[in-house]
Amino acid sequence: MAGGVVEKPAGAYGGSTKNYLNETRGIKNWLITLDHKRIALMYLVAVTSALLLGGFFAIALRTVLWDGAVRDPQDLFLGLRIEQMYNRYFTLHGAVMVFLFIIPGIPASLGNFVLPMQLGAKDLALPRLNLMSLYLYWIGAIFFVGVLALGGLDTGWTLYPPYSLGRDTSIPLILALSAVFILGFSSILTGLNFIVTMHRLRPPGMGMYDMPLFLWALYATSLIQVLATPVIGLTLGLSLIEHVFHIGIFLPEYGGDPVLYQHFFWFYSHPAVYIMILPAMGVQSELIATFSRKHVFGYKAIGWSSIAIAVIGFIVWGHHMFVAGQSPAAGLIFSFLTFFVAIPSAIKVFNWVATMYKGSIELKTPMLYGLAFMYLFGIGGLTGLFLASIANNVHLHDTYFVIAHFHMVMVGSTLNAFFGGVHYWWPKMTGRMYNETLAKIACLLVFVGFNLAFMPQFVAGTRGMPRRYANYSDEFTIFHQWSTVGAYILGAGVLLQVIYLTHSWFKGARAPKNPWGAASLEWQSDSPPDFHNFTKPVVVMAAYDYENWEYDANTGGYELRKEVVETGRSIATVHN
């Protein structure tokens, strides 16, 4: 039977059939809800839709690239030359994926759901703010739909002037700039809320070193969200004014300095890549520990390395500008500083591997994503180091090598962790198990497809294939075609996920309280949780105190040991 769980009447699992999903009904009750679980679920639907939209553009891009060597440049598609079409695709692909999917992705959906529960709390500290940030997200998303409807944008997601701003007033551009501004504030409010919650709603008896590492990661992410995002907000606000009124701050023809724009942009956008990866690393810590059934190795090292990444992330932005007019002196310092970022990242990877060592590893779907993460993040991180050395960068900048690098970290790592996290918390969020076999097949498709899509790009990049071109010389055909095949396989994997997850939502077997034997507090709630999160008093314990749980063949999941429930105390012997 799917998930190895026997179908039982609903009441057997949660004690009560009432839960946050059916507490109240009707669209209106969802739209004005302050419940973090509902907001998280709406976020999940929204960011997944963004993922599918961005994915659609990705497939379109790869399709155009199939025969880029032999195409007649005069070919028209929907009334535009193929190249013009292509420029719009990659801009929207990048912008939608970055601003609508990957930045809000894990924190706003998974984080929103589990953060309060991992603290044994009822909700985030500031629930109204949470709803407001969801609305801001929606407004931003609608603006992007507007950009699409009005014919798109061809500036690249980085929106560099003078090309982007120094043109006739363009409504899609104005919409896009405003959208990112608004989405930025959505992100700031989420981060702010998370920090306040972790400070003020930790239950008595839970110190900072008792929190799950996912929360450390979210904390570090939130710090970046609060402190870096305003910079992009202001930058794009200024860009908007520059574009409409030509005020002469970024546009050279009016006395402005376009390199200044790049400084501002990357002052945010480099830290933003850590907004993308840190939550993924947090998910990863949970997955590896849970499915190795072993106390996480190097708790403090993993926790503090998140904070270190957040801080160091602020001092390396210039590595995106080595050949963009930045002075050699600044480039040298930035190159040097960039190498430091790799240290805390590597610390994490070593500790995950050490956690698995001698663990009793269970290869459930989330764990498979976890393993893929480690391998792909290794490659992504190391190629980042190649790019960080200036001499290499002069050759590799703006080639497919860079594309492959950042897809290794953004897709190979973050998207992987997102999938892993969704599969891990799915039983908790929906109360249903998914089909494990199909899930494993999907995971395999994603993994194979991804590698096929991006490994050839490293080679193409080192041989000089530049990014953002629809046409190329014949020597690159083979790499592009492999890559396109890979993209299709990856796409098939994602579609398969959507199908079986949707199916499980309605028809899946009932999930037990704690199907994986995880020890963080959210697993003490029913699946799906009650509207107030917990129906019984929570036994506060440190994350990874796995000894408190034992397998119960009746429910097909894990239950707290009797002595733990009776004394209300952890009996674990190893602590963080």
Binding site: A125, L192, V196, P230, L238, I247, I249, L251, L260
Partner: protein, 231 residues
């Protein structure tokens, strides 16, 4: 309410506010950087630009904001001591100071637009005789006496004062928007205070809005000398 104590709730709101203020600092950071970059590389642009700014008005606004900052802090005190009248009075005075600030700002802005000393591409002096007197003198010493010649000297092919005014309008404009938001917040606070919503254990809104108002003041403390005084 899901906090176990009012004290905890108060501290949560306050922490949220401080994080928001940290965000504000970085929100302005890009503008301070733009200022530093253009001033650092084009001192003469700022030297000439400053002739257009009226430091008396800037100083008056500084005092107005400082005073309102005091009344804002006082409103917190009144809330804590449950002095209802005092609370209403301090809130009202803070609001009035904010309005005064904006009125003075309005006169500064309209004058600049009238003269034509504005941002980037739109910078275009309408009439030589409308230039600030000191500047007229300086230009005359350099043999510049006509409107065209002045524009050639100050405009985008010369000193590029358009960029100076871009920086000026963006910085003071963004600050001005913050003042307007502050006025909205104090108006709302006044209504709530009138209804008697606050007491010594529940006055988070008064405290947090005051914090916001202080940061608006704090930013102006830097803007004033940077823009009006050091040429």
């Amino acid at each position: 309410m899901h906090f176990d104590t009012l004290h905890n709730q108060f501290q949560a709101g306050k922490l949220g506010m401080w994080l928001f203020l940290g965000q504000e600092v970085l929100f302005f950071a890009a503008l301070f950087t733009a200022y530093a970059v253009y001033r650092g590389n084009h001192t003469e642009m700022f030297h000439y630009g400053q002739f257009f700014l009226n430091w008396q008005m800037g100083a008056a606004n500084t005092i107005v904001l400082l005073f309102s900052s005091m009344t804002a802090a006082w409103s917190v005190r009144c809330a804590q001591l449950e002095q209802r009248k005092g609370l209403l009075l301090t809130i009202a005075v803070t609001w009035l100071c904010a309005a005064t600030f904006m009125i003075i700002k309005y006169f500064e802005y309209t004058h600049k637009i009238h003269v034509g000393s504005v941002w980037g591409a739109s910078f275009n002096i309408h009439d030589f005789s409308e230039l600030p007197e000191k500047l007229q003198k300086l230009l005359t010493e350099q043999g510049i006496t006509t409107t065209e010649a002045a524009n050639a000297k100050l405009g985008k092919d010369g000193l590029g004062l358009g960029t100076f005014f871009a920086v000026y309008f963006c910085m003071t404009g963004l600050h001005g928007i913050h003042v307007l938001v502050g006025m909205g917040l104090y108006a709302w606070l006044f209504v709530r205070a009138l209804k008697g919503s606050f007491n010594r254990k529940y006055y988070g809104a008064v405290d947090n809005i005051a914090l916001y108002w202080h940061i608006v003041d704090l930013i102006w403390i830097f803007l004033f000398p940077l823009l009006y005084l050091i040429g």
